[in-house]
């Protein structure tokens, strides 16, 4: 037995060492991705052993470089240039933010309760090292926990995103770049607004996944962060589409050229604080979809003043159609209050018969349209007064829509139906609200 042990001693030790390492690997894998906590201490030792040298070398390099550049080569010009570059970086970030904000406004995304995140505070850091392996695309930066850096913070440059903070040590942080295989970033194409997942690959390429193969993606299109990963704020540049090909299953294989040169990183910004801003839709009262639809539809002209009695309380100079399509009770109440006030102060010359379930819509007045300010959160009300001498029905329109109801009637928000009285045509067609977009459902 002893001779066997001594004869195969080397092999036994080899197997033992390999077994221990496999055991260690199995324990890390068993933790299902949370191995960082288990292996944190030994990683700190390794990082602590290597990064001081890297930091010193970077310091010596930058020190000697700055000595030459600032005092011998061009005194002061470099510093000024650096300041200007920093200003440009800040302005680019601001530009990105404003551009995305404006684009969102154009797309009427304010109607969505979408929290938008903006870059609020960044910490500049210098890249001091890497993993030294193409199987692990990470870099080390010279700022850590003491500088306020936390795990999963976004790391960017003025050109675009770099990656996220993976591990944080007291004075050093490990950054996982977007080109790493285990990286994943929510991204979208700027023009087509197609969303996908940005992933790294084993050869260092960055690929946009999860875009269906029947979509049209053009080479050169800009890719932005979508904000869906809760790490990167929305709208930061990721890169441009370099190549589009067929991928696995039903998806496209879209290769992305990163906006930031990930192989030449020197200084980066860590987003330590993101300002969360609520969209404008959240500031005001919530509206229902039917109310929004009702706003966009024109109102149906009311019947001629067949029933003067019903119109008896109308104002002689102003027509108001109290829309029942109001989304908010306050707005409706304001309109109703206005109607009541006018009804008590002026006799009506003309009016319309209130339909069952419709508000009284009566007025005469100057020919000049009057535009009333909108109630809070609502669209403005356009009041088109009728000719006081005319017997034509009021061409009173509420931009909120066609659905009308009696005082206190519930908002229906439905377009007019065939059953609604339309036989009595007004002498002049109702003027649409200029603010109301043309709608295929529009009826006159």
């Amino acid at each position: 037995m002893e001779s066997v042990l001594s004869r195969y001693r080397n092999l036994i030790i080899l197997v033992g060492v390999l077994f221990l390492q496999v055991l260690g690997l199995a324990m890390q894998v068993k933790k299902n991705g949370n191995d960082e906590e288990k292996t944190r201490l030994i990683r700190i030792w390794a990082v602590g052993a290597v990064t001081p040298f890297e930091r010193a070398l970077v310091w010596v390099q930058s020190g000697s470089g700055s000595l030459w550049h600032n005092y011998f080569y061009l005194r002061g010009v470099r510093a000024e240039n650096r300041e200007l570059k920093q200003q440009i970086e800040q302005m680019r970030l601001e530009q990105v933010r404003l551009a995305e904000d404006a684009a969102q406004a154009r797309r009427l995304q304010t109607l969505l309760a979408f929290k938008e995140q903006f870059v609020s505070r960044t910490v500049a850091a210098q890249v001091i090292g890497s993993s030294g392996s193409d199987h692990s695309r990470i870099v080390y930066i010279d700022k850590g926990e003491s500088a306020g850096i936390r795990r999963d913070m976004a790391v960017i440059t003025a050109n675009g995103i770099v990656g996220k903070v993976l591990l944080v040590y007291p004075s050093v942080s490990q950054v996982l770049m977007i080109s790493d295989e285990s990286s994943g970033v929510g991204a979208l194409l700027e023009k087509s607004r197609l969303q996908g997942v940005l992933r790294g690959s084993s050869n260092g390429e960055v690929v946009l996944e999860r875009v269906m193969s029947d979509e049209q993606v053009r080479v050169g299109e800009t890719v932005l962060t979508s904000g869906g990963d809760q790490i990167f704020p929305k709208g930061l540049p990721v890169g441009t589409v370099a190549n589009v090909g067929r991928g696995k299953d039903l998806f496209l294989n879209i290769k992305i050229k990163p906006a930031t040169d990930l192989s030449q990183l020197e200084e980066v910004l860590v987003l330590v604080e993101k300002q969360e801003r609520q969209s404008a839709a959240d500031d005001g009262p919530r509206m229902r979809a039917s109310d929004i639809l009702a706003q966009r539809l024109p109102s149906v002209p009311d019947k001629p003043a067949a029933d003067a009695k019903a119109a008896g309380a109308a104002s002689p100079d102003t027509g108001v159609n109290a829309s029942a399509g109001q989304a908010k009770p306050e707005a409706k109440a304001q309109n109703q209050a206005a109607i009541k006030t006018q009804a008590t102060t002026a006799p009506a010359k003309l009016g319309s018969t209130p339909k069952p379930g419709s508000a009284s819509s009566l007025a005469t007045g100057p020919a000049k349209p009057v535009r009333k300010p909108a109630p809070a959160g609502g669209a403005p009300i356009t009041i088109i007064p009728a000719d006081s001498t005319s017997t034509a029905p009021r061409t009173v329109e509420d931009s909120r829509g066609s659905a009308t109801a009696g005082e206190g009637g519930a908002s229906q928000g439905n377009p007019p139906t065939a059953e609604q009285p339309t036989a009595a045509k007004p002498s002049a067609p109702p003027q649409p609200d200029p603010q109301t977009p043309p709608s295929p459902n529009r009826r006159h």
């Binding site: 390999l18 496999v22 690997l25 890390q28 030294g132 692990s136 591990l167």
Partner: protein, 173 residues
């Protein structure tokens, strides 16, 4: 005329001072981590810790010290990355054991032998790494033969140069 095949008694066994034993692997790790910041392709083609492992293993000609050297260097390399610790460790342990075992059988003092040995162990290292990464840790890995051959040759040529530099630190037993 160099001896290319020797018995165990004919092969010279070298040892190294403690500063060299600790300092050279650390320096290799440091250079491997720092140089890619300025020369990004360096990490793609070169693996200095592997070359150092092969050199120490071949020079000492002791399988146990070879595999331990490989294990320590590999584990240290693992710690600098974000993948589970042990993938490089296992690969370099195997390489250290193999290189030292080969060093016992072969005299690998000449440049040609060193070139071939380094090239061969580069592929052994890559094979073990990919096997462990895919089989045990389930990390997606793709192998490219053109890249592998190019990187193997690059490491082999760099190894030949590096070994001659490191030969200066050898101490005869």
């Amino acid at each position: 005329m160099p001896i290319t095949y020797t018995s165990g008694e004919q092969v010279e066994v070298y040892r190294f001072s403690i500063p060299v034993t600790i300092g050279v692997p650390l320096l290799a790790l440091f250079v491997q981590a720092f140089v890619p910041l300025r020369f990004p392709r360096f990490a793609v083609y070169f693996d200095l810790p592997l070359l150092v492992t092969i050199f120490f293993a071949m020079a000492r000609r002791s399988p146990i010290s070879g595999l331990l050297t490989g294990a320590f260097i590999g584990l240290a390399q693992d710690m600098l990355g974000h993948n589970p610790i042990g993938i490089y460790g296992i690969a370099k342990t195997v390489v250290g054991y193999g290189a030292s075992s080969l060093g016992v059988k072969l005299d690998v003092e000449n440049a040609g032998a060193r070139l071939l040995v380094t090239l061969g162990f580069y592929f052994v290292h890559a094979a073990v790494y990919f096997t462990v990464a895919r089989g045990l840790v389930n990390i997606t890995q793709t192998w490219s033969w053109p890249h592998g051959i190019l990187a193997g040759l690059a490491n082999a040529f760099l190894g030949v140069i590096l070994y001659f530099l490191l030969d200066k630190f050898k101490q005869r037993t």
